[in-house]
Amino acid sequence: MSALKQGRAQIVSANDLLIGDVVYFTAAGGWTRALREAALARDAGEAGALLARAALQQGRVVDPYLADVALDGGAPRPTHFREVFRAHGPTTRPDLGRQAEK
């Protein structure tokens, strides 16, 4: 299987069924709001398997998909600006979204 670039991985993200909130698939097979708890796929094979597992657990979420992350000391960080905005909330409203909880 083709490996991802050094320091890069993929995660599975989706939106929560009830409130639409951004969630991530965990290694234990559940869903979490914390990006740092997301399961990491380090090559295309792992990514396909992770997405397949997530697809079986989507009763409480909507539209799971793979997203790229960079690994800073093992912690995932979104690489695409769309995923950065999803992880934090509207850039024009710092009082709203996940960023407001910090």
Binding site: L17, L18, G20, F85, G89, P90, T91, T92, L96, G97
Partner: protein, 560 residues
């Protein structure tokens, strides 16, 4: 204003019950997302980046104080304290919880509102001139026509699954404030040589990936033939519109690929077939129903007033803020002694079209007090108080100042249309709101903004063009390029009766470069205009794009 009859109430309440049951079945797992998605979209419920978004229809942009107050209730009780008014005269709430939707829809139904057909491949909310019924230049109020189309198109079984969405706009004035030439169907009310009322029917306009200006398919359609003619257009489109490629599925592509003459022949043949088959217009509404609708839009009984107001003249003399607001945010009314007031939702640095619950509640109260309990939402994402006595303008302005709603910039460079963009929208490819905020801040000086004059900037965060960038004097389109946000700038667009699609100025620029580029463009315009009264679009048409392209890209050339 239109009031629901028994049928309307029953239909909307039935839909609330149906969709509430569908939501319950989705939550308990009896419906999958694949099964649920088309149902939620038919009821205006999208899933966006951070949450569900509920898009609520404001038919032809008209609502009462009670309805505006209900929107404030929704913002406060079920959302995060604000709503976003859109370019289709709707409102969107960005933080809707799925389990709250039944309660929200029930609350809407109690004030005769709903979210039906605000999404999906159906006939969407019919839009109209936001000055309808009040403008001095109006031939006829377009809202009875818009309401008739609303009733005809709501849950129309034949047109529930069109090849693609379908948008209709109506204007009753020669000055087109409803962007009729950029809609699937645009209707311009006019009269024939004998004075009989009718419509110029425009078809195949649209923005999005392939912008096109609508073409006149029928120069004059007698008023009584409206619905059968629309039915004929929709039938031809439903039959021949492309379903194999969603990017080529709008009626504008059918018009383009078929050719106007051939399409007209098909539409006229279908229209004639209907008329012959039924001995008259097959879907002609009952005259009593037409009269009932028209009665709801009868001109309000405005007390006679002097055409000049001492109160206005005094305030104009002693209060420069009022004088500036009076100049930019009021418009001539058909009745002497009255004005149409535009309440800008474009405070400098604010998100265009956003209003807080407190502001919505204040607007509801001001509409009751000063505007016959009526408000409008404009496609330019502002709120209109259509019937304000001149004497009431000073206290209205004072009240708006207290609510942060007195920005004197209607039609000026900081009155920017912007879609929600990638701060909210799942379809977006780049952000719109921060670009609008940056530009507005650069032109925050009201004296400078008024010196620049009419200047329409429109920003979309993706090719779908909800921010109408194609018809902005300056259009800005947010895209992704090599993993970062990048903005294409177009020049020379026009949303009015002289509709034009803007011309792409050159390569896209980075987000932080957009504001400086617009400043250089404006400086060039100020240097080049023939007179202070020559608007940017006029200078652009006189001189062409070259000097403005040069200004936009001036620093890049220097760097090269």
């Amino acid at each position: 204003m239109y009031r629901y009859d028994e049928f309307d109430h029953a239909y909307v309440n039935q839909r609330v019950a149906q969709f509430s049951d569908q939501i319950a079945r989705r939550i308990d797992g009896r419906l999958s997302e694949d099964e649920f998605k088309p149902l939620r979209l038919q009821n205006g419920l999208y899933l966006q980046l951070h949450a569900y978004m509920l898009r609520i229809a404001i038919p032809y942009g008209t609502l009462s104080g009670r309805q505006m107050a209900a929107l404030a209730d929704i913002a406060e009780r079920w959302d995060k304290g604000y709503g976003h008014f859109t370019t289709r005269q709707n409102i969107q709430f960005n933080w809707t919880k799925l389990s709250d939707v039944p309660a929200i829809l029930a609350h809407l139904a109690s004030v005769e509102m709903h979210a039906i057909q605000t999404s999906g491949n159906c006939i969407r909310n019919v839009t109209a001139d936001h000055f309808a019924g009040a403008a001095a230049d109006e031939i006829e109020d377009p809202r009875p026509t818009a309401e008739l189309i609303r009733q005809w198109s709501t849950a129309h079984p034949e047109f529930a699954f069109l090849p693609r969405k379908f948008k209709v706009a109506v204007t009753g004035a020669p000055n087109d404030r409803a962007v009729t030439k950029a809609h699937d169907i645009g209707l311009r009310m006019l009269r024939d040589a004998q004075g009989a009322p009718g419509y110029e029917v425009i078809v195949g306009g649209g923005m999005g990936r392939t912008p096109m200006i609508g073409k006149v398919i029928r120069p004059f359609l007698p008023k009584a033939h409206l619905l059968p003619y629309l039915e004929a257009i929709l039938r031809v489109y439903n039959l021949h519109g492309r379903r194999d490629n969603k990017y080529k599925a709008r009626v504008k592509i059918l018009v383009h690929e078929t050719g106007l003459e051939a399409l007209r022949a098909q539409v006229e043949a279908e229209f004639d077939r209907q008329m012959a088959a039924t001995g008259g217009p097959a879907v002609q509404p009952d005259p009593a129903e037409v009269a009932r609708i028209e009665a709801y839009f009868a001109a309000p009984a405005l007390a006679p007033r002097a055409p000049v107001s001492d109160a206005v003249e005094t305030a104009r003399t002693f209060d420069p803020r009022f004088a500036a607001w009076l100049e930019t945010n009021t418009h001539p009314h058909r009745a002497p002694g009255y004005a149409i007031a535009t309440v800008s939702l474009k405070a400098i640095g604010a998100a265009p079209g956003d209003a807080s619950a407190a502001q919505m509640r204040a607007l509801a109260a001001l509409a009751r007090r000063y505007s016959g309990d009526e408000l409008r939402i404009s496609h330019e994402q502002n709120v209109i108080l259509p019937n304000v006595a001149l004497d009431d303008l000073p206290p209205l302005h004072a009240a708006l100042q207290r609510e942060g709603l007195a920005t004197a910039n209607a039609g000026l460079i900081s009155d920017i249309i912007a879609c929600p963009g990638l701060d909210y929208c799942a379809l977006a490819t780049a952000r719109s709101i921060p670009i609008a905020q940056d530009i507005a801040r650069r032109f925050a000086d009201p004296v400078r903004a008024r010196a620049i004059g009419e200047f329409k900037i429109k920003i979309s965060g993706c090719i779908n063009a909800c921010g109408h960038h194609h018809v902005g004097h300056v259009g800005i389109l947010g895209l992704e390029k090599a993993g970062i946000e990048n903005y294409q700038i177009t020049l020379g667009g026009d949303a009015t009766e002289t509709c034009a699609i803007g011309e792409r100025a050159g390569p896209g620029v980075a987000a932080e470069e957009v504001g400086p580029a617009i400043e250089r463009l404006v400086d060039a315009y100020l240097a080049l205009r023939a007179a202070d009264t020559e608007a940017f679009i006029e200078t652009y048409r006189r001189l062409g794009a070259a000097p403005f392209k040069a200004a936009l890209y001036a620093t890049q050339k220097k760097a090269a």
